[in-house]
């Protein structure tokens, strides 16, 4: 189990390989972001993007899946208060394969809840050619090891 103490400021980790399909783009687009260039391959040709592109929040959701699978699944994750910034830099299209580069920027213990620590990260979502398609500055809450051992109540 990975606790707050197991993160390290300055540490960089790269993980994930998520293949994006047209079906996933259209399904997510129809459910949550039904713009023509997210749901209709023909209409997308006439859009400024020239082809079907993934909704920005689908890119975030795919990022989250890679984060859970590679980091949070085996961590004392307590959720997240939010993201300072989410920047969609380049379109993501069907056939792209996405991965994550995670850089830990800072860490601190919560004053109000000393059994928890906050970890601030810069996440970059990369495509198969190494381009940054999305950047997410976010914070995660993690349990502290001594709290789990009963040292902090």
């Amino acid at each position: 189990m990975r606790y707050w103490e197991d993160f390290e400021t300055g540490a960089v980790a790269c993980y994930g390989a998520y293949h994006v399909t047209e079906d996933e783009i259209v399904t997510f687009g129809r459910a949550y972001d039904p713009l023509p260039f997210h749901i209709d391959p023909e209409a997308a040709k006439a859009s400024p993007y020239g082809r079907l592109t993934a909704p920005g929040l689908l890119i975030c959701a795919i990022f989250m899946r890679m984060l859970v699978d590679n980091v949070l699944a085996d961590a004392a994750s307590m959720g997240s208060p939010g993201c300072d910034a989410v920047t969609w830099r380049l379109p993501v299209c069907a056939g792209d394969t996405l991965s994550v580069r995670q850089e830990t920027l800072s860490m601190r213990v919560l004053e109000s809840r000393p059994e928890l620590g906050l970890v601030s990260n810069r996440f970059q979502v990369l495509n198969q050619t190494g381009e940054i398609v999305c950047e997410i500055m976010s914070k995660g809450l993690f349990g502290r090891r001594e709290a789990s051992a009963g040292a902090v109540s």
């Binding site: 949550y32 713009l35 400024p48 975030c60 859970v68 949070l72 939010g82 300072d84």
Partner: protein, 151 residues
């Protein structure tokens, strides 16, 4: 179509409601955020959430749906460069009734792309108890009305 010219600074619209569906919460989480507090009541019991709660990204997606489909006509959106100050303030639970309060905080024409303008929104997702559960700011690229290519 609602174009750049159709929105005014300080305009505030509320869209919804939408009912949070337990099956959809679990389905979204299985696919994108399979942490135990997003998968079952049992898994959430001894956590901050206390019972099954929606992924924050699912709440953001439901809010996007309200923003994109809540107006009387389709928004002539050309996408967005991103979000700022995304805050997951309170848990979102199955059967919650969510609405989106969307305020236009600024707008200006794009210098590099005269066919569109940039509209700044402050977005708040509010539940049935009038509690803001999530908030963020965003910029939308909206087509101008005289842009025939998108008419």
């Amino acid at each position: 179509m609602i174009h750049y010219e159709d929105l005014e600074i300080d305009q505030c619209d509320t869209f919804g409601t939408i009912t949070v569906d337990a099956d959809e919460v679990v389905e979204f989480a299985r696919r994108y955020d399979p942490q135990r507090f997003h998968l079952s009541d049992e898994g959430a019991r001894d956590t901050y959430f206390g019972r099954l709660a929606a992924s924050g990204w699912h709440t953001a997606a439901m809010t996007m749906k309200l923003m994109m489909t809540g107006r009387e006509a389709q928004l002539a959106s050309l996408g967005s460069p991103g979000l700022e100050d995304l805050r997951w303030r309170r848990p979102v639970y199955p059967e919650d009734l969510l609405r989106a309060r969307v305020t236009v905080t600024d707008k200006r024409l794009s210098r590099s792309r005269p066919e569109m303008g940039l509209v700044h929104f402050r977005v708040e997702t509010i539940n049935q108890d009038d509690v803001v559960v999530m908030s963020f700011t965003t910029v939308s690229m909206l087509a101008r009305r005289d842009n025939q290519a998108l008419a």
